[in-house]
Symmetry: C2
């Protein structure tokens, strides 16, 4: 089974090393991990004339199309939610109807993280709004309800860990739980 | 043509009023706007047994499936990127292969916003990394390359406006440009 390894892991200083570590865990469970930076097998000539960013986007879409499942790193990235590219890819895979698992090294729920980020306090109705009046979601989900909803509806699950801050981008225990669940 | 109106607009204090304003602009251009909070036409009985957040997620997925195109509000939301729910929906629609337009009331590019958010400074190689060593994308795109790439590959476009801060969530000039482009 081919598994697309979505996440901001591509932005790590040693992205190649990270790719190798994630793939080794997949291999140990009988799965084939596909990292976003992997070479795409068949690339239409027209793509090569595009700006690099658009070329990368199309290659990643092709990777997802060629995978049977996805494991997504939902560790919050520059705000209360997961990395935008990862979230896009979850939506893409969800429309394909294949299983999606998520993992995060921040066990706090979305409301807690959004509250910390915005400083919102409950109003008389118990709702929280940010400084611009925008409501905070309060459903007890890990992230925006579209993300949790899609993962659960796809047959997947979300696993979290709570490593110390310095291990935020190195602890792979929650990732490993995703791999084991998908392989099981 | 039915158009799904993705965005954090659902979190506005007067989300119903916002829905009406967006739909009126669509109607004036011969399009039918579908707002996430609209009632879904046919709901399987099994969905009603789910927690509310999961029910909403499935209804929104059904809305997207029932639309011919999407117009997404990409105005940055609690961080440098667009709202996570909106980004998920862009990914979903992209996998369906239908046109997606994006609009934003922040004309700064993704690198500029990410730099402001993280305080990153260029290193000797000219790259910028945040306090955790994670690279900042530097492609001149409006947001993460998956978002811009998908919108452009779908045949759509991104329009921006630069309203004063108090009009950040009320200025609809960039939205109107999306509607006109899609209707044209």
């Amino acid at each position: 089974m081919r598994v697309y390894l979505a996440g901001p892991d591509v932005f790590l200083p040693d992205a190649a090393g990270r790719s190798a570590r994630l793939k080794a865990i997949c291999t140990a469970h009988g799965l084939t991990g596909i990292f976003p930076l992997d070479t795409t097998e068949s690339i239409p000539d027209a793509w090569r004339a595009l700006p690099e960013a658009r070329f990368i986007a199309l290659c990643n879409e092709a990777h997802i199309q060629g995978c049977d499942a996805m494991i997504a790193n939902l560790t919050p990235f520059r705000g209360p939610s997961a990395d935008a590219g990862t979230v896009f890819e979850i939506g893409y895979m969800r429309a394909l109807g294949r299983p999606i698992y998520g993992w995060s090294n921040d066990p706090a729920d979305f409301l807690a993280r959004s509250t910390t980020f915005t400083g919102a306090v409950p109003d008389a109705a118990g709702e929280r709004r940010d400084g611009e009046g925008m409501l905070l979601e309060a459903f007890g989900m890990h992230d925006n309800l579209m993300i949790d909803g899609a993962i659960l509806a796809s047959g997947g699950a979300i696993f979290t860990a709570n490593p110390s801050p310095h291990a935020r981008w190195s602890d792979l225990s929650a990732f490993t739980r995703c791999v084991a669940a998908l392989a099981g």
